[in-house]
Symmetry: C2
Subunit: 471 residues, 2 copies
């Protein structure tokens, strides 16, 4: 059958306002997966997604409970499928696995939000809310594309579809990783579509073909048995914060190099063609510094462009240093313990296991006198590169080209989407990273937003992509 | 008149249980001066002390409001006096200024307390509570010594006495500093008695003749304009925590030396006699490490004993590093800003002003690329040495000798009591630091305690000291 693409696109356009209002409802649920006190809200968000998948016509909608070592009370997966598609020209229909996540990052610091993080607010064509673009808004594009296709074609889809939506992406995604590992047959597909990345620039359709991996760790330094008064003990008692500072200074040079011995040994250099393509992208480092980062200077390894540094080079960041006295005023305590939350981004061919082993051994070797140190792995994700050598990439490229009227560009992403590695490893399928976020969408920061035009263009792109697979 | 010392000591012994019960009442008031939400409790503690001073017979009891730049809504001073003492042998009576403070440190971390910090609990001859020894318990010794003297002698004291009790000691004491500076005549005295220090060892009567000063600072490092996602920006955006770590590593060498250029230039070496006396004190560094500190090793400058390092050498400590993400789990944020709370202990002849200027200039000079830094002085106190060359020191030495049956030793303290510097500078009087705390009293830490035998011996020592000045 020739699929009614035009009708589906028209349906999406006619229902654009409703789609956004539904998304707002979902965004009002503070499904913060890192916060145990929000477990009920996380579950509510799962239910919200499941109910809608059922309403639009998906089959076998269900919540799948997850557990893992780090999250024994896991947040459920939402599963749905449609496996009744007619084939094309005698061939059986392809199966597309649609992935998204309904959990969000914590909203702190709250006082920097211009409108409350869980009261979605439209301003200047953008929708502001925690999760607007990461990933509730982009996941909702998938749901609404499916609804449009169903509506335009009498309750049928042009391809087979499985939908899997998780609630632990922001806490490491161990639940879905275990499910993929243990039940690969339940997610069997030909290709996965993930919309959790961004476009390189406004109006520039983008497919992301590489992602950094990561290891997120905690270094806990312990000195004295109990907190001590720095007047009485200063000069004799070890200070865990000073020790952590000294260790961090030995982990990362001021020139941006990570100082863990052997850390760079397995780093693969991008191909000359890839580097040349990156140079051709519309990107101005000074403009990026001023408009996106806003610091007095950019930092990082000398001799590499910003795109190389953020896409194809490992990094080390410190996210917080809990412990001691953090209130106003002057408490003169030498804390018994302090923690540094440290992560490293990894690139092909680094592996989380080997990188963590090198890092842990090095940290233990540089621990100052009087301090005992414990290095913990909080979570890990593989770096990946996505093959462009298959018809699905071409179909996605064409779909976005049609919607945006520009050539689709291939980039990499600096963030981690561990599930993409799981799909490659366990399901043996490539993943299309077709994202509609923008560089200034404030992911994981105050005032996260989603450009609403991209929400709608994303829906149309996905409609066209899925429809093209059925024709 | 010959003063009825014996009767006063007997009164104190007979009323020992009541004295402790009264102290417990005071300790139940969470007068945490660093916590704006506790302002009402701080004021309540002031009232509690004032009411008791009035009840026992002191004159002119009043609360004096304070304000300062850093604490515009200051906590009141409690003032009382007794200026009716008969002279001795035709000479006018001496005037003793009794100083203490009724405010306490925050109790965090709460979960490490064996009994709640504001529910005073007796265990093994100790009274456990926040403020038990620092300084409510020791201040209460003064009040109870005065009560005992009044009771034993028909409502009269052997010497003139002024009492000044502050509520901002733990937040820098700027209110009392301003009062001393602006109204020195209202505190005119011949000598000050402060009980806010510790004995060198159990049963060893101790006068403290030197104190370190301090500067307590905050270094605020700012990088990007807003919090950023470390996946997308890691490798290009400056990280304020990494920058703070690099700066702290350049402030303090792993061998314990402070690396601020010129910082040690004005450090005075203790006299050979003083160093020899310290060597004779009953002190075992390994025992101290095991029982008091509990770390795997002690730290600090090579070539100096622990007593030298904690009494006569400057130090640098980091107390906390607020900012970023400090919760459970793995938020991958590059925070826009982070702060390090850093203090330095100072020794004669260093001055807070000069030390801060050197430190601030150095920190600004080592600030990494992409980071802007602000160095703030939170509070400061002069290092001091107390002259032993006057009859009051001898009277105190004798009083303690009588009570404890041992020779009184002279030590220094590593902590700061800024008011002692104010008394020297503004009132031109020496201060006796006659403290009855013990090294394991957990000042500023969980499970703060006061050894109750020392509470009672402290009262008797002060009774005998004040009585001896009137005979």
């Amino acid at each position: 059958m020739e699929f009614a693409t035009k009708s589906a696109v028209a349906f999406a356009q006619e229902n654009a306002v409703r789609f956004v209002e539904e998304l707002k409802e979902l965004l009002r649920i503070p499904s913060i997966s890192t916060d145990p006190e929000r477990a009920g809200d996380v579950r509510l968000a799962a239910g919200f997604v499941a109910v809608e998948l059922r309403r639009i016509g998906m089959d076998n909608v269900r919540l799948i409970e997850t557990t893992s070592a780090t999250h024994p009370d896991g947040h459920p997966l939402v599963y749905a499928d449609y496996l009744r598609a007619d084939g094309v020209g005698g061939r059986p229909a392809a199966t597309v696995l649609l992935y998204g996540h309904y959990d969000v990052q914590p909203p702190d610091p709250l006082d920097e939000w211009k409108s409350p993080p869980f009261e979605p607010t439209e301003r200047d064509g953008n929708l502001y809310a925690r999760g607007a673009v990461d990933d509730k808004g982009q996941m909702w594009m998938h749901v609404k594309a499916l609804e449009s296709l169903f509506a335009a074609n009498g309750g049928k889809l042009p391809v087979n579809v499985r939908v899997i939506v998780e609630g632990e992406e922001e806490v490491g995604g161990e639940g879905i990783a275990a499910f993929v590992r243990e039940h690969p047959e339940q997610l069997a597909a030909d290709v996965a579509l993930v919309s959790d990345t961004e476009m390189f620039a406004p109006d520039l359709p983008t497919l992301c073909v590489g992602l950094r991996g990561m290891i997120y760790t905690e270094i806990e330094a312990r000195g004295a048995r109990t907190d001590l008064h720095s007047g009485m003990y200063g000069g004799a008692a070890p200070n865990p914060f000073v020790a952590l500072a000294q260790m961090i200074a030995k982990l990362k040079h001021e020139d941006g190099r990570i100082l863990v011995p052997g850390f760079y040994d397995t780093v693969a250099k991008p191909s000359d063609a890839e580097l040349a393509a990156w140079k051709a992208l519309p990107f101005d480092e000074e403009e990026y510094r001023k408009t996106e980062v806003g610091s007095t200077a950019l930092t990082g390894e000398a001799g590499y462009s910003v795109l190389e540094r953020t896409w194809a080079r490992p990094t080390l960041d410190v996210h917080g240093m809990p412990g001691g006295f953090t209130g106003a005023g002057a408490k003169t305590v030498i804390p018994a313990r302090a923690v540094a939350k440290v992560s490293m981004r990894l690139v092909p061919e680094q592996t989380p296991a080997e990188s963590f082993a090198l890092y842990k051994g090095y940290v233990e070797s540089i621990c100052p006198t009087g301090i005992t140190v414990e290095v913990r792995l909080i979570h890990a994700g593989d770096p990946i590169v996505v093959s462009t050598d298959n018809p699905y990439v071409q179909a996605a490229t064409e779909a976005m080209h049609t919607v945006f009227g520009k050539e689709t560009v291939y980039v990499r992403g600096g963030g981690s989407i561990p599930i993409v590695g799981d799909f490659i490893r366990e399901l043996k399928i490539p993943t299309l990273l077709m994202g509609f976020g923008l560089p200034d969408d404030n992911l994981h920061a105050p005032n996260e937003k989603f450009h609403l035009a991209n929400f709608h263009r994303g829906i149309e792109s996905i409609v066209r992509f899925l429809a093209s697979l059925g024709s």
